[in-house]
Structure formats: structure tokens, C-alpha cells
Amino acid sequence: MTQQVFSSVSTKKLSPKLIRNLKEKAIEIVLFIAASTSVATTLAIMFILLEECWFFFQEVSIFKFLTDTEWTPLFANPRYGILPLLSGTIVTSAIALFVAIPCGTIAAIYLSEFADSKLREIVKPFLELLAAIPTVVYGYFALLFVTPFLQKIFPELPGFNMLSAGLVMGLMITPFVSSLSEDAMRAVPALLREGSTAMGATKLQTALRVVFPSAISGISSSYILGASRAVGETMIVAVAAGLQPNLTLNPFSQGATITAFIVQVSLGDVARGTIEYQTIFAAGLTLVLMTLVLNIIGYYLAKRFREIY
């Protein structure tokens, strides 16, 4: 009986057109759910970090966290000052950017304005490969190749130091900066270059005074992206910079970054609910806030300097 009713309803109402429309709607919903996973991921990240930090900041005051000059959460007498980890992160990132921004920019200007298309086709894949090498391999390179080399120049340099970690990190970031900056410069209309060349400018003058300023929006966001990669980079510093939190701006000393600390704690066994477990989330939240600030600056710069052709 129900069978009959059901079949009669389905033949009457579910015409091919309706079935088709239903199917279309269902597919759209499935696709929408897939697209929402990215939003869910962001929400989950914020939720997990804030939840554990909530517990953390009930044990440790925010004031202490931001001003204490010692970070020794794994010691018998723990102190929870984020400053030493921040200084490590800032020193290594600054060295990396000191390498990556000039080298990346010069390489980008060369590839975009000087190199002919054949050379560019050959060189670009190699730069991409440089960016694709796993960071733990770069860590090995920094520890066992760059540090011994630097020790020949600076004999008192310790085996673990922030200098070599930062330099190698700069090498890793250079291809990012150069490829994004190059894209930005190539998007500048040829008319501007022709105008400049017609006035008797050399390629270099055109590049520096016409193309570079016109592409500054894209170039600055490539710098910001480079900076946020440097801040979040983990394995190079964990391998080569030592794991000793150290409130110093001296690149010749050992140091630990926020990321390296998280790795160090995770290598041991941390149970949920302990203060050790919560410290890595507090450190993680600090890291997320740092990259967030960088992203906001980048967004502002891109908007402020955008040229519309």
C-alpha cells in the first residue's frame, strides 16, 4: 500500500526535471560544505589555541608572560616570560630578511627587466626547486655546512648559533620573495617602460624609478609573506640555533624561537591538562598573533600603494 502510494507520488511529482534540479542542488550543497572546511579550520585553530591559553593564563598572569625575562617552563622552578623566545624569533627572522629581501629583489628585477625569456624559462624552475627542499634538510645544511664555515671566520662562534640558522633561512625565503616580486613587476604595463626608455633612461633606471615604484604594492606584500614565513619557520632553527631560550639580540649566540620551543616540548611526552601542554599553545597563540599583525600590515600596504592601470 505505502509502496503504491510512494511510487505514484514519485512518478507524478519527481519528473526528470525535478530530479535534475534536486541533484544539482545536492551537488551545490556538497561543494559548499567542502568550501566551508577552510573556514572551519580557521575557527578550530582559534578555538583550540584560545581554549588552552585560557587555562594557561589562569596559572600565569599575562603581565608576567609579557615581561618576565626568563623562559624555563620545563625546569623545577618554572618561569614563563615569552621575551627570550620573541627575541630568538626576531633575531633569526631579521637575519633571514636581511639576506632574502635584497637578494630576492635584485633577482626579481634581473629576471623581470634584464633576462631574456629563454634564460628566465630555465632559471625559474631551479628557483622553485630551491623553495621546495624540505626545511629539515636546510637545517642539516646550516648545522653541518654553514656553521663550520662561519667558524673559520669567527672562531669563537658556538656550534649552535642564530646567525647560521638565519642565513640559511634567508636562502630558503629568497625564491619566495623573488618569484612574487617578479610577478608584480611583470604586471606593470609595457607602456610605462617604453615611455621611460624613450626619455633615454637605461634599463636599470627604468627598473628602479618606474617599474619598482609601480609594483611596490605587490613587492611589499612579497616582503611581508617572506617575513611571516621566517617567523613561522621551525626546523632550521630547531636544528641549527640550539634550544636554549636566550634574551639577547646577539646573532652569534644560541637561541630558541617560539617554533623551536614547541618542537622541543612535543618531542617529549606531554599529557593534556598539564602546564607544559598549555605552554606550547600559549607560544602558538603568540606566533599566530605575530603573523596576523604581519598580514594586516601587508593588507594595508597592498591597499595603500595599489596602482590601477
Binding site: E24, E28, L31, A34, A35, T37, S38, V39, T41, T42, I48, L49, E51, I106, A107, I109, Y110, L111, F114, A115, P125, F126, L127, E128, L129, L130, A132, I133, P134, T135, V136, V137, Y140, F141, L143, L144, T202, K203, L204, L225, S228, V231, G232, T234, M235, A238, V239, T259, I262, V263, S266, L267, D269, I280, F281, G284, L287, V288, T291, N295
Partner: protein, 305 residues
């Protein structure tokens, strides 16, 4: 006359600066490529004494010369399998939604900004998310499944962005022709857009996976072990139902973690192992990237709209 000499000198000087800059640019690029070659060569030379059959078929060991990467490369393969199975459908579906279905409203904008921002989140943060959510809240444990899902989230933005770019590159006339024949939206996507963008999407997936293979930090955070002397349960069984998913729950290690473990030991013997593991890792990632670059090159040559 005096003026002309000055102008000539000025032009010469500017040309000189121009040429010097060109040389500096070329020099920087050459140095970068040289470093890439030196790095690769150095890994292979340092690791050469260990790069033999035993290295691939031995478990890690306390004695450097007996230690191998069997559990690591099998772990990496299984984790990558989970990553690909999770990231590809979700990523491609998101890309299709954002490019073909989404209306221009705040929701689409939100998702779009979100994808861009996620691409900039440090990888270790994904590790923290996975530790809190997958390992504890969902009780998936420190398993192959957890690692695969974590890395899938990590490469999702890459897959979404390449899918969108690939679909956007298809000219509108193709869609219009299909709609004019009475095709529904999904029919257009399934029969026209996906086949045409398949190659480009595949390139993006390979690049994403090559990134996932080398990721160390998030996998350490979720608690991958560094010393594993057994293999996960085999996925293929001799008796019914022939396929088992027990391996998803197994503890594991992966290549970059094995390498990290060996690098951080003080003994020089283990650093030889680290170099050998690094050589294998470089071979894997560079190989995957080379395939992707070649594929892209072929596609660019083949398609002329």
C-alpha cells in the same frame, strides 16, 4: 662641445651602472642555483656510504651502520596516501564551488580571504590544531590517520588555489556552448571544466604533496615517534574482506622526522645516516617537483585556446 663630452660621460656612467647591476643579478641567481646543486651533491656524497639496499630495508637501530629507513619510508607513503585521499576531493570541490557556484556575497568573500590567510599560517600551528582536535578531542591518537589529515589541511590552500586558477583559465565560450545545449551546471563542470583542467590540477596536487612530504614540524607536534621498529598492519589481507584499515590507527614515523632524529644526535656516524636520509628526501621532493614542472611545461605548450 664641453657639454657633449659631459653628456657622453654621463651616458657611459649610466650604462656602466646598468651593466654592473645586470652582472650582480646574474651572479645572485647563479649562486642560488649553485647552492641548490652543492646542497644536493653534498647530501649524496655525505650519505653515500649508507645508500645501499640495507638502508631501505632496515629498521632504525642504536648502531648507526645497521640503522635504516624502512619504517620511515613506509610511514611516509601511508601518510601521503591519507593526505591525498583527504585533500584532493575537498580541495578540488572547494575550488569548483568558489569559482563556478559562489555568488558574489560576503560569504564567498569570507571563504576567499580565509583561504589566503590559511596559506600564511605557520605549519606548526596546524600541528597544534591537530594535537588538540584530532589526537585528543576526536581520540584519533598519534596515528597515521591523524598525520595524514593534518598534512591534508596544510596543503588544502595549495589545492584550492590551483584548482581555481585552472578553472578560471578555461574560456567562457566553452561554458556558454555547453549551457546553450541545455547542460546543467554540474554537467558543465563534470564533462568540460574538470577534464580540461585535469592536468593543471594534478600539477598543483603534486606540488602540494611534495610540500607535505618534507613537513616535519606539524608531525612532530602531534607526537610521531622517532624510533619505530615495526610496520603498521598490512592493508591487504589474505582472508575476507581482504582489505583492512587497521594501519590507519598505527603509530608511525616519517622520513623528515627520522632525519631530524639522526641530525640531532651528537655522534658523527648518525650524521652520515642523516645525510643519506636527506638525500632520499631531496630525491623524492625534487623528483615530484620536476614531474610537476615538466607537466606544466607540456600543458602550456599543448593548450591554445
Amino acid at each position: 662641445m664641453q657639454n657633449l663630452v659631459e653628456i657622453r660621460r654621463n651616458i657611459k656612467q649610466r650604462q656602466l651602472f646598468n651593466n654592473i647591476f645586470a652582472l650582480v643579478g646574474l651572479f645572485i641567481i647563479l649562486v642560488a642555483i649553485l647552492i641548490l646543486l652543492a646542497l644536493t651533491l653534498r647530501m649524496f656524497i655525505d650519505g653515500a656510504p649508507r645508500l645501499n639496499w640495507g638502508f631501505f630495508s632496515n629498521f632504525p637501530s642504536r648502531r648507526a651502520e645497521n640503522a635504516g629507513i624502512l619504517s620511515a619510508w613506509i610511514g611516509t607513503t601511508l601518510v601521503m596516501l591519507v593526505t591525498a585521499v583527504a585533500a584532493v576531493p575537498v580541495g578540488v570541490a572547494s575550488g569548483i564551488y568558489l569559482e563556478e557556484y559562489a555568488k558574489k556575497n560576503w560569504l564567498a568573500d569570507l571563504i576567499e580571504i580565509n583561504v589566503t590567510n590559511l596559506a600564511g599560517v605557520p605549519s606548526i600551528i596546524y600541528g597544534l590544531l591537530a594535537l588538540g582536535l584530532f589526537v585528543y578531542d576526536w581520540s584519533l591518537g598519534e596515528s597515521v590517520l591523524t598525520a595524514g589529515l593534518t598534512l591534508a589541511l596544510l596543503i588544502l590552500p595549495v589545492v584550492i588555489v590551483t584548482t581555481r586558477e585552472a578553472i578560471r583559465a578555461i574560456p567562457n565560450s566553452l561554458r556558454e556552448a555547453a549551457y546553450a545545449m541545455g547542460a546543467t551546471k554540474w554537467q558543465v563542470v563534470q564533462d568540460h571544466l574538470l577534464p580540461y583542467s585535469f592536468g593543471s590540477i594534478l600539477t598543483g596536487v603534486i606540488i602540494g604533496l611534495s610540500r607535505a612530504i618534507g613537513e616535519t614540524a606539524p608531525v612532530i607536534t602531534i607526537g610521531a615517534l622517532t624510533f619505530i621498529a615495526f610496520l603498521p598492519d598490512s592493508p591487504i589481507k589474505s582472508e575476507f574482506p581482504f582489505i583492512s584499515f587497521e594501519w590507519l590507527k598505527a603509530p608511525f614515523t616519517v622520513m623528515p622526522i627520522q632525519m631530524f632524529n639522526w641530525v640531532s644526535r651528537p655522534q658523527a656516524d648518525f650524521q652520515v645516516n642523516a645525510a643519506a636520509a636527506g638525500a632520499v628526501l631531496i630525491f623524492m621532493t625534487l623528483g615530484m617537483n620536476a614531474v610537476a614542472i615538466y607537466l606544466r611545461y607540456q600543458l602550456r605548450k599543448g593548450i591554445k585556446w
